[in-house]
């Protein structure tokens, strides 16, 4: 792989990993906000609404970071991956463009109303805008997953006379069987992030003995939603993802588990360091037969190892792929344990007395971000050496006319820019979090002064 392509890969990996820190949080938070607004309309308890207002501020900052860091991604298809774009644009750009047409317009329009329009347009409109923001962000995720799913599992295409791909079946692309498991897994991952942050901040307020009513609400909501999402992450969504990787991408599966030799009754690796040159796992702790059961539903099923495939089809960073996968799965297991324990304590009415549990919730906050990122590393590194699985090599997809020097220039620029953005983001989020969900708008309009939407209704 030439240097220019390598830098382009680094740049795409860096910009998309940084970007996805924000959408995973806002997609999760959008759901939690919708729940808060619905609770407010249902129970008419002001605490739900002021909580929603507080989290809307956090959402706004995070959302704008997601928007601005998202812009370069679509364009990088063209700037850095020109040959891929020309080769597959007839198909992949359908779903990319649909995201713009169906999700972005929706999100941007209703986010404006959600952030600016509560007083002017009344509560029903405000609830409706929170619903639309949730729908928009989740639709956006859907189209991106559809695009990625096609790169993982290309369907609905024909090869034209000039060697480029043409779309031959729109519905096959839109309802690619790869999409559903990946979408479920990604979205519940996002909900995990949102709920861990909500619970974590609530735990911080409990520990700091501030805003106790809000803190208890945040923790309760965070752990209940978090437990559901963490369980869903394992089953069915994680399980389905595993099955389709087993069926369609057996090399990825072998590399994820660092399984070099084909085994009957293959075990699942808990810990160990892959030694690719020697073709073995150092210092392994393995639970026997589990991998065979998880992948083929039989304890003694045969799982193909890397040596069963030609080495030029192996992913090019097996070590990183292996660790990404194990970090994701390991953290996912911890998430279930933490949330289950917290919910158990909530049920036994001990949660708000045990400070150690609050510490755990607080300190757990960053880990869903890591797990989600590691998950994407797994799926993307595992697709290598292909950019379109089985059809086009990554090395053949980059921009041939863009020199390594120019790509490194922009990569450094992105690094500097994102360092700056990240610092600003942290400053602002810490500032908002320390302000807390206190009622700032004391001179509120009386509820009779409702807006346009309520008059219409």
């Amino acid at each position: 792989m030439d240097t220019s392509t390598l830098f382009s890969r680094s740049q795409f990996a860096f910009t998309i990993s940084f970007h996805y820190l924000f959408p995973q949080f806002t997609m999760g938070l959008a759901l939690l906000l919708l729940i808060l607004k619905s609770l407010y309309l249902w129970r008419k308890n002001e605490i739900y609404n002021s909580s929603a207002r507080f989290w809307a501020k956090i959402l706004a900052i995070s959302f704008i970071m997601g928007v601005v860091t998202g812009i370069p991604l679509e364009f990088q298809f063209g700037t850095n991956w020109a040959r891929f774009s020309a080769y597959a644009g007839d198909i992949i750009a359908q779903t990319v463009a649909m995201e713009g047409a169906f999700a972005f317009f929706l999100e941007s329009a209703f986010l404006g109303i959600f952030l600016f329009g509560e007083q002017a347009f009344g509560q029903k409109m405000h609830w409706f805008s929170s619903l639309m923001v949730w729908l928009g962000t989740w639709a956006s995720g859907g189209f991106i997953i559809a695009s990625n799913a096609w790169m993982q599992h290309p369907v609905g295409y024909t090869v034209a006379s000039d060697g480029r791909l043409h779309i031959s079946n729109y519905w096959a692309v839109l309802f690619n069987s790869w999409i559903i498991p990946q979408y479920m897994h990604t979205m519940s991952g996002a909900v995990i992030t949102g709920s861990f942050v909500m619970a974590g901040l609530g735990a911080y307020y409990l520990l700091a003995k501030q805003h106790i009513d809000y803190a208890q609400l945040f923790v309760k909501m965070g752990i209940i939603v978090g437990l559901i999402a963490s369980l869903f992450q394992l089953y069915p969504s994680g399980d389905l993802e595993g099955l389709q990787v087993t069926t369609y991408q057996p090399i990825k599966l072998a590399a994820m588990e660092a399984l070099f030799k084909t085994e009957k009754g293959a075990g699942i690796v808990i810990i160990g360091q892959p030694n690719v040159a020697q073709g073995r796992l150092d210092n392994p702790i393995i639970v026997p037969n589990v991998l065979s059961f998880l992948t083929y539903r039989r304890w003694t099923a045969k799982v193909k190892g890397l040596y069963a495939f030609p080495a030029n089809q192996w992913p090019d960073s097996i070590e990183l792929l292996y660790y990404s996968y194990h970090i994701m799965v390991g953290l996912g297991t911890f998430f279930i344990a933490i949330m289950a324990l917290a919910c158990f304590l909530l049920w036994r009415r001990k949660l708000f007395q045990f400070r150690w549990m609050q510490w755990i919730l607080l300190l757990a906050m960053p880990f869903p971000f890591i797990a989600n990122t590691a998950g994407w590393f797994t799926t993307e590194l595992g697709r290598q050496p292909w950019i379109v699985f089985g059809l086009l090599h990554t090395a053949q997809g980059s921009s041939a006319t863009v020199s390594a020097g120019n790509v490194l220039f922009t990569l450094i620029g992105f690094a500097g820019m994102y360092l700056l953005l990240g610092l600003f983001y942290i400053v602002l989020i810490v500032y908002e979090a320390l302000q807390g969900p206190v009622e700032q708008m004391t001179k509120e309009e009386p509820p009779e002064a409702e807006g346009l939407a309520d008059q219409l209704a």
Partner: protein, 348 residues
């Protein structure tokens, strides 16, 4: 079908320039038009609920271009690599400067974001103009229809190795700057009252006058740089309707500005911009990216996606656009009318 997609992509780019153009212009004038923090917040509030949606048009236009003309997307984005990535940086900085400014009430913080908002907006306007000019002038395409352009070489548009910046593209960049500044100033005049309103209208007038100079010289230069334009207009004379629309919009914009009718002046400015873009697109058609040697030019035929792809694309595109236009009418109606100081309490 290919001609139709040429028109539809052109429509989306025009929507982007007209809509995001006014918030770019607002960014250019806000340092001069607003004399204090309250007025600054008024300007931000005027564009606050809509700028993000406006910007979506470029994302959507790019996506649409990507599937309708994949080779054009691949070739132009990789060829304009450096300026394009810089545009992305500017878009990012400008976006966060709008949204992060009001989060802390600290004079240094505010001044920092104000400066960045101005710089980002002004440079974007110039870059967009220069980008347009590069497409009109043409690029050195190779036999695979790819190219790579340096930021500058010898500043000569007739060079065999042209750069992104030469005297012609800079001229069109300045034309874009004055046009969008006048456009944005007129929008702010529409949305405000009192002194801010009067000041914005005055700024619009000055930039309208400056636009006369750049538009006239830019038009002459375009005909000189790209022979295809005169060929198009003289082989299909009905196309003169577009420059006439542009000229009419331009004159009406100035007339309504002097009459202090801000809203008609704003719509006239929209007409002017649309007319200019349509003229340029008509002049280039059927080329989408000319080769300076006229050998390997990308056209609507050789850059096109598949017939089937463009056909199914049309179905969802129409659906998506209807929805988008409904949201836009909805949002603009909700936030219709003059901005008052009280509005700035919710955000910004």
């Amino acid at each position: 079908m290919q001609t139709l997609w040429f028109i539809l992509v052109g429509f989306m780019i025009t929507m982007y320039v007209v809509l995001d153009g006014f918030d770019l212009g607002a960014g250019v004038i806000h340092l001069f038009a607003a004399k204090n923090d309250v007025e600054r917040r008024l300007i931000l509030r005027a564009i606050g609920p809509v700028w993000d949606g406006n910007e979506v048009w470029i994302i959507a236009a790019a996506g649409t271009l990507f599937f309708s003309f994949p080779l054009l997307y691949a070739s132009s984005l990789s060829g304009f690599y450096l300026p394009l990535i810089m545009v992305l940086w500017l878009l990012m900085l400008r976006g966060i400067s709008i949204e992060l400014r009001s989060r802390l009430d600290n004079p240094v913080w505010l001044a920092f974001w104000d400066g960045l908002f101005f710089l980002g907006s002004a440079l974007l306007a110039i870059f967009y103009g220069a980008a347009m000019a590069n497409v009109i002038r043409g690029v050195p395409l190779d036999s695979n229809h790819y190219f790579f352009e340096a930021l500058w070489t010898d500043f000569n548009p007739f060079s065999s190795n042209p750069g992104i910046l030469d005297w012609y593209t800079i001229l069109i960049g300045l034309l874009a700057l004055t046009t969008l500044t006048a456009h944005g100033a007129t929008y702010i005049a529409v949305k405000t009252t009192g002194e801010l309103n009067a000041r914005s209208r005055l700024i619009a007038r000055w930039f309208w006058l400056a636009t006369i100079v750049f538009a006239a010289s830019g038009t002459i230069a375009s005909f000189a740089v790209q022979p295809q334009i005169s060929a198009s207009f003289f082989s299909r004379p009905w196309g003169f309707i577009f420059p006439i629309i542009a000229l009419g919009g331009f004159i009406a914009m100035g007339y309504f500005n002097f009459k202090q009718l801000d809203l008609p002046s704003f719509f006239a400015s929209c007409t002017f911009i649309s007319g200019m873009l349509a003229s340029a697109a008509f002049g280039l058609f059927p080329l989408v990216l000319p080769d300076i040697k006229s050998t390997y030019s990308l056209t609507i035929q050789n850059a096109s996606g598949s017939q089937y792809g463009q056909t199914v694309g049309l179905v969802w595109w129409i659906l998506g656009m209807i929805l988008a236009i409904v949201y836009f009418i909805f949002t603009y109606r909700l936030f219709w009318g003059k901005i008052s100081v009280a509005d700035t309490k919710e955000g910004y």
